[in-house]
Amino acid sequence: MLQTFASSISSLLDSRADGHSLPAGLYIRDDVFEADLDVFFRKHWICIGLDCDVPEPGDATVVDIGNSSLIILRDDDNQIRVVHNVCRHRGARILDAGSTVISKLVCPYHQWTYELDGTLAHAPHMGIDFDKSCKSLRPVNFKSIGGLIYACLSDNPPEDIDRLEQVMTERLAPYDIRNAKVAHQTDVIENGNWKLTMENNRECYHCSANHPELCVSFVDLDFGFDPEALSPEDLEEARQHEALYAERTRSWEADGFPSAAVEQLVDCATNFRTQRLIIAGAGESQTPDATAACSKLLGSMTRKDLGDTHLWGHNSWNHFMGDHAVVSIVIPLSAGKTLVRTKWLVHKDAIEGVDYDLQKLTDVWIATTDQDSELVGRAHAGALDPAYLPGPYSRFSETTLDKFATWYIDRMRANGY
């Protein structure tokens, strides 16, 4: 009997071996890239930005994802709105990339003018009988979860965002990210597939050799280690650290700060993990000396010893600390190019040069992001090489990568590939 496939990608999905990285085609093929955009960036919830990207009424910012362009704005009632950046006249882009201040949304082509709620207010030369009521800008499904804006471009967004919402609303409340400000932002374009970007972020196997700055405050062993690979001294330290985790998590939670790991990484649509991590060294913040970079703490935080609330999504990673937060979102540009947009957040009233030093605030993750970019480029170049063969993930330090690859295959199949 002739075997038929759901798509040209099906056989690639079938050929993925458990415990191993993906077949090269899934990283490098253009048809897979298009399928990835369709499945993971249109049919799943993705993090696209922050409430505080648009702090004041009339602020707007544009986020492009594949052929979609989304406008995030704050209207005159202080509500966040997300609409498609497509004029209802003949489809022209209304706003350019980046951030701007608007009084109304005006298409540059023929000056169709929309109120900030998306309703069409002015359409010159369309006749007095022209019905503007059904020509609003098309809204986008979105949720602001603790000040992080998650959007879904499909009409049937996955319902299991509920768990993320429930868990993170509570965990992020003290940081009041809605009332933070973006102190700094970088866009780094990595020469690699978005999945390599995500995989790289989900393991710290590479940290000790590649991220000297990060390792001052970040404990690489938190994400798994092979006890056989450690010296007796290091192993003893690791064991003590594990014991410390149990104790620290207990005391944080007793103080009202949820800390235990929550994972939704397989058998789900919405992929996330969160945990309150211990910060090494001075223990306050991911800075060159692990002390707080900003004297004005986020939100209602009064303590610098509440560690690092980390949050993964399938296109984002975040670290929320007492004094600041670092949030990154990932947007695929092509099979071999990926945008990593990183923002450093502080309390909205914190003043640069007074309450915080920008260099101290940004040094660690600027260095880390550049290092990761180099590593992802290195991995992608190898995936392009005909000599590439999927390799085994470490069962100690890369278990979450195996889960990510498994989830990826499952979601592709679930969406007809």
Binding site: E56, V101, I102, S103, K104, Q111, T113, H122
Partner: protein
Amino acid sequence: MDTNAMQTSLAPQRAEFWDSERDDTLVCLDVHQETHDVKSFTFASPAGKHFAFQAGQYFLFDFAMGAETESRCYSISSSPQRTNAFTVTVKRVANGKVSNWLHDNMAVGTTVKAQGPLGHFVRPSTARKFLLLSGGSGITPVMSILRDCGDTCRPTDIVFMHAARTPRDLIFREELSNLAVRMKTVRLHFLPEVVTGEPSWSGLTGRISAEFMKLAVPDIAGRTVMCCGPAPFMAAARTIAGDLGVPSSSYIEESFDAAVIDENEIAAPEVPIGKVYQVEFSKQARKIEVADEQTILSCAKKAGVRIPSSCANGVCGTCKSKLVSGSVDMKHNGGIRQREIDAGLFLPCCSKPLSDLVIER
């Protein structure tokens, strides 16, 4: 008044009325000097016919001036309640062919050809409150309206505002003062531009403006405005009334080709419009003049200055520009944010200059 010319026909058995289809000859009954350069001419029908007209209408005269005939429209200034004769009031205009001929030649007993009454500059039957606004010799039709209201003893709420060049140019000055005393619901405002010839003038001087109108006629928005005067005066009045909330449905002006305006009164308006400012567009190295009642965008477009625009009423923000120096009176409809205004931006489409301007365009 010399009545000899009319002695045979001044006592008709019953009132017969002038019919423009059949009648075309008038005879001058009286000439009266109103001001140093304005005369009133009163005409009757040689057949003793009466005239039925509405206050605000005019007659079209054909004056035989030597070999040629010149046609002119003149508004009736007299009350329609006096039916046996009507009066037109004419200002002598420098180089004005007809007005000079009238002033120099029209005398009691002179006959002229005319058609009328004509025109639609009349009180709407439903209106109850009026602003009768006139400039210079544009006073004639609104004078007829005021006299009509006085003669019929129907109390009508009227603000009568008359603008002229100097106090000595105020036509019907004494009569208006008397009428304003007799008619309890009439308020009179004279506005000479300057006090030349009468330095003791105790009232305000200057040109009509939104500020003046707000003080003199605070309830203008609820009045039917009837305006007559030189074209620039009417243009300024129309803008002011619109800005102060008079709906266009309540704004009536005597049309251009009627009556009042003699040839050179247009070219030399006796009530010039407001102040004119220099507006510079720095990137295009252009400088234009914009009057304080005009929007910057409309003048820029006429002058060929490039500014992108669409809605022209402050909604879309397409014309948003940086105001480098100067100040404007902007009435936008949501097309610009306060913080943009604070940052020095403005919308030329709905802004009028308050000073000389430099615009980054």
